[in-house]
Symmetry: C5
Amino acid sequence: MSKNKKHLRKAYTSPGSLIYVGKESREKVEVKSIRFNESVIEEQTLQKPFPMPAAGSSFVHWVNVSGLHDVKLMENLGKAFQFHPLLMEDVLNTYSKARMEHFGDRHIFVMLKMLRWNAQARETDAEHVALVLGENYVVSFQEAGRSDVFSPVEERLKTSVGKTRRGKSDYLFYTLCDVIVDSYYLLLEDFSEKLEETELRVIENPGAVEQKTLYALRRELLTIRKAVSPLREIFSTLTRDDSPLIHESTDIYFRDIYDHVLQVLEIIDSYREMIENIQNIYLNNLSHKMNAVMKTLTVFTAIFMPLTFIVGIYGMNFENMPELRQPNGYFYTLGGMALLGLGLWIYFKWKKYM
Amino acid sequence: MSKNKKHLRKAYTSPGSLIYVGKESREKVEVKSIRFNESVIEEQTLQKPFPMPAAGSSFVHWVNVSGLHDVKLMENLGKAFQFHPLLMEDVLNTYSKARMEHFGDRHIFVMLKMLRWNAQARETDAEHVALVLGENYVVSFQEAGRSDVFSPVEERLKTSVGKTRRGKSDYLFYTLCDVIVDSYYLLLEDFSEKLEETELRVIENPGAVEQKTLYALRRELLTIRKAVSPLREIFSTLTRDDSPLIHESTDIYFRDIYDHVLQVLEIIDSYREMIENIQNIYLNNLSHKMNAVMKTLTVFTAIFMPLTFIVGIYGMNFENMPELRQPNGYFYTLGGMALLGLGLWIYFKWKKYM
Amino acid sequence: MSKNKKHLRKAYTSPGSLIYVGKESREKVEVKSIRFNESVIEEQTLQKPFPMPAAGSSFVHWVNVSGLHDVKLMENLGKAFQFHPLLMEDVLNTYSKARMEHFGDRHIFVMLKMLRWNAQARETDAEHVALVLGENYVVSFQEAGRSDVFSPVEERLKTSVGKTRRGKSDYLFYTLCDVIVDSYYLLLEDFSEKLEETELRVIENPGAVEQKTLYALRRELLTIRKAVSPLREIFSTLTRDDSPLIHESTDIYFRDIYDHVLQVLEIIDSYREMIENIQNIYLNNLSHKMNAVMKTLTVFTAIFMPLTFIVGIYGMNFENMPELRQPNGYFYTLGGMALLGLGLWIYFKWKKYM
Amino acid sequence: MSKNKKHLRKAYTSPGSLIYVGKESREKVEVKSIRFNESVIEEQTLQKPFPMPAAGSSFVHWVNVSGLHDVKLMENLGKAFQFHPLLMEDVLNTYSKARMEHFGDRHIFVMLKMLRWNAQARETDAEHVALVLGENYVVSFQEAGRSDVFSPVEERLKTSVGKTRRGKSDYLFYTLCDVIVDSYYLLLEDFSEKLEETELRVIENPGAVEQKTLYALRRELLTIRKAVSPLREIFSTLTRDDSPLIHESTDIYFRDIYDHVLQVLEIIDSYREMIENIQNIYLNNLSHKMNAVMKTLTVFTAIFMPLTFIVGIYGMNFENMPELRQPNGYFYTLGGMALLGLGLWIYFKWKKYM
Amino acid sequence: MSKNKKHLRKAYTSPGSLIYVGKESREKVEVKSIRFNESVIEEQTLQKPFPMPAAGSSFVHWVNVSGLHDVKLMENLGKAFQFHPLLMEDVLNTYSKARMEHFGDRHIFVMLKMLRWNAQARETDAEHVALVLGENYVVSFQEAGRSDVFSPVEERLKTSVGKTRRGKSDYLFYTLCDVIVDSYYLLLEDFSEKLEETELRVIENPGAVEQKTLYALRRELLTIRKAVSPLREIFSTLTRDDSPLIHESTDIYFRDIYDHVLQVLEIIDSYREMIENIQNIYLNNLSHKMNAVMKTLTVFTAIFMPLTFIVGIYGMNFENMPELRQPNGYFYTLGGMALLGLGLWIYFKWKKYM
């Protein structure tokens, strides 16, 4: 929530003007370029001015930008790659939602949310990730000060000559998207464990779970769904895309991601329904307990009130109370009260009050 | 609500007849014209008769009307610009909902709601704003007696030669729409703060929030959603528009607004769900407290009822009550009652009643 | 409800057979014909046989039928105008829902519900209104025994030469539809007042509103929505209609009605949500009050039970009770009990029981 | 429910194999054939082998089969009329849902549910009815042991030369469908009466309605909706059908049925909402009563506890209790207690506890 | 749930790499091949290398793989049949949801969930089943260690020359799908019995059903719906499929499955609603009982409190209490109290507290 608080968007500024909207950071922005083909892979840290990969180059170029807060640098980079101003504006707004945009036949632009469990804040962090697919290059943007989202891909590229090394830029683009979607599975596995634990606790010892736990679970799921739900359309579009930037042979891979997104959304929905069910059990248990408490109260009251009344009678100070003078009056009274108490006790037992 | 109260619409009048429906006002209606191109900008207050910008003029003309209650003036203006009677009828009805209409290839007409937090009435005010895009002009209408909605645009136009100064009338039209949509972000930021505050208060001290607060939040959100939800279709249509009034290069900017509208709607939905959750926590806490109260009651009753019964027994006035004559009977009884009370106390402790 | 009770539809009869389904009436059915053009307007009460307006007549003919229960007359009228049997069947069934039907290029048939607040029965009445648009005529049907739905149009026609007088039959047709839709605004304004009043009462003095009020509001809204919701499709279809009976220049007027219908539906939805909210406040208040009652009970019980127990102790009749013989025992006991009572009182004050 | 219990479908059998799934019956299956044109009508009970009506015959043939449990006979009939095996499989499965199927241009196959209130079982019975439209014949199937669903049509055919007699097989087909849909109106009228009665009882004397009544109403509505909801698509398809079996002039009649289905569905929805509302009133009344009970309890407790405490005080046996020796102590105490009791009573009256 | 726990999907691996995701198993993977035509049927256990059926062979080949955990073997098989790597990846992931994929015109790939009630774990097991349709062969995959899903088909093939034996590979493909969908009916019949039993118990003796039962039912239904709901689209697509692998004459059979899937989904929905209703009855009963308990408590309290107060009065030790000295004071008091008690009893009887 705190993220939404300060600047959901810089309002009242000229559209297309570059303004960083996100967490402050003092880290240096790193621009790393990896270019590779099946036989060669080269890594290099880019400096201003940023060279745009030559059209027709046989290499696939991957430019990975870590840190978005250096607006000047971003502007240069955007100009070097001839990005549309609106594209750069979205890259710099870390609070904008996941979406896709075609900029003519030159660029396909995708913004996603990398989700990671933040153990300190005890909530799920959504990191802003932006990808631009060009003819023979992919530019990826991520926020500074976090572990590199794409390191598994980088490692794979360097260590083995797999499909990605043999593929074109669109396959690299797909691989980067795939890493993000994979992260949702990991997150949901963690979530599922928390959910199961809560479920067990509720079923076995219904009073033990606090509302806050359920609320936190529901809120986390809300965060995840917010990040994932726009992906349905993004990848549905990419699957049917006829842009020259995505080759037909890559379509099936985007369909694969699309199916994964659908599955993630379904899992989210079923978790949601489970939370609902747990909530219901919890509430019913509360009612049940209340009922039990009331019954206890009623039994105690209903048994002892008449008895107390009886002893009250014989505590009266009337001069003429014949029973009091009976030698065994006391014992008869005690006996009568025992019988009455027992009778009431049996009655409530029979009415299932105990 | 009070707005809907008096005249949702003037019923049973001939369609297309000009009748002002809205708050009464005595302020003078101001009609300001700004015409500009990349090099020049001129401002002027228009007087009757209103001159329509010459077709083919290289200037972009922006006519801004503040105040809608002068029906005579409105009629003249509408005739000068050759607006369709239904267009003017909608402009004058400040309670009509946001919508868009093409009037042939001559005019694109958009009605929006400017939302502002009214600190006095402690509710969100929805101001009626209407925009008409013509060949080389934009006419904007707003209610009187409020601060100028479009002043940021005016300022930007005058101080710097940015995109708007270089653009055509459709870009100005887009800029004015953008200002309105931006205002929703500001409003939602305020709303988010109120929501967070309420949330914290509910979680930390559940009894503190009154129903009225939640009701007010829910109602405000309802107002906002009502203003924003028609915009989804309006800007979706403008994005795909093939009217000659909107150049193809401007389409991407309307797509940008469209995405912002979607994001605003998503934020509204998530806020709504959060209010729902807070409401649930609140209710559960109420149940929880009730439960606690009942337990307290039960424990007190169940411990003291038997004890009171016992002391009642020895308060009876039977002549023959052997225990009474026992020298230590009193102390034995006290001890027994202490044991019984302790036993019951431990029992309820064990049953988690305390 | 009572309306649905008797005959939702005459079942098991041959389709297309004319049977009146509705409230019994003994009033005479009145068939009034108004024919007009820009310069002349003539009114006449029609008698059997009903003359169909000559094709190509320069007049617009409006035949208004008040009362549907005279099946014989209806049959003659239907034959005179060459209406399809299914059309007449629907006209006579006052319980059929609002809908539209094209009968080839000859007739456009629309059934609507006129809604009026029935102050006597304290519920909203839905009156059956049917309109048939022909080449140069409009036939309107309404139930007998109520005030004329279309009198505002008639008056307007007679008193001034406005758009309707200058228009064709399709514009008259539109005007008649517009009157019906306008009536919903009036009804909703009344409804809104009742809703506001209820809302205020609930918020200020939550116990004051009875369930029945909310139930009646919800039910009335249900009636209204049932009448209005089919109109969305009817006017959406008429807007896009390419029947020769509706000229292109009239399309924009049907789009106007369509937008009004959408707005009415939106208002209905928001009222519905408000009722929901009021209901929630009401229920929460009930819970709150219950809680308060329980706390009062608990405080009284928990303070007086121990005290009563103590006085019970010193009411026991043991021979050897040293305290009793203490000269100030009574006062010490009174003081102790005061302290205990005060302590408990402070404790419950601190626990927010009071 | 019991219907679903045994065999929702015979599983694991070869598709297209004829197996009767439904209630056991020992009645003889009756196959009745009625052939008619405008001038002649002939009835005959068919025996094996079943003759298929000659193509090009000027008669309309209606073959009505009562009883589906004779699989052998069914198989012969299916072969005689050259029905697709899947068609016959569906005819024999009385638990399959309502649906429509084209078998090329030869047969249009419709399964419907005839709904009848079963007074004995106190629930709505859904009877399986299947109709096949061929070139110049209609074959109708219904379950044995019930009154003939189509007797009104048969009677109409025999007694008068109406539209059905003059029509083709598609009009007969329409008439048979119409009878089924008409039956829903009758059923809903009954339902509406039960609903109204329940509603009145709840509003006037809220405790009187048992949960079971509401549950039964809800369940019956569920049964009806389950039978009716597939009809929306069936008749929507038939309306737009371009099969040579349905002439264009009959389309409008199917549109009529379609509209009736829509109305039935709307009525069902509104009844559902009414049940929901009644349920809410019921629950709120329960809460209200609970509240009243609690208040009574609290008032009794809060008034008598302090009084009992006071009398307890003067029941103590301290030797030195000055008040006891006051000649009018007793009367002062009684008076004090009367005042206290009255004060508390006024207090609770003022707090609206009584 | 436990299934989702460990590996919803292997994350961060190169796409298309074969990794088994599912339950560990040590059983040998069995690859059985059945080839048949109308006259001959031959069975054989396949060994590596797997021969792909010759194109144009007049036999239909059915290769059934039981056990998916032998990745090496799977890879060989995939290569032999020239399956796309993504296809094999999905086959090996037993947690992926049901879906369909075309791999060009060569393969139609369908993944389904076989549902079986697991009596031991007391929950529904979803087994992963994958089917690949090729030109003249079908390859079916199922998990190891369970009874063969397709044994009914195998048996039918061997024992009789039915439609499947005479059909092409697409008909075999359909038959295998049909077996899976049939299994849902069996499962729902079991479910229906459990549901009915629960319903009866709730209605007759509302306290008897524990929340856990309802929760388990709801959860089981969730599992079933999750498995079935994707089938709606799968078979809708297959019905309209124009792949050369599915002949037009088979389309109607897929439409048949499609209708069964729709029916299953409808049954699931109605069961869901019934659980909801049972839940409501249960909760209302809880409230009702609470109400009854409260009334009992109130009646006891309200009757005995005043009486106890009265006897307390005459237990006071004032020296001057004239009543005490009255010879019949005691009996008058007893009588008065009896009258008071009776009066209160009648009062509460009249207020329906008992």
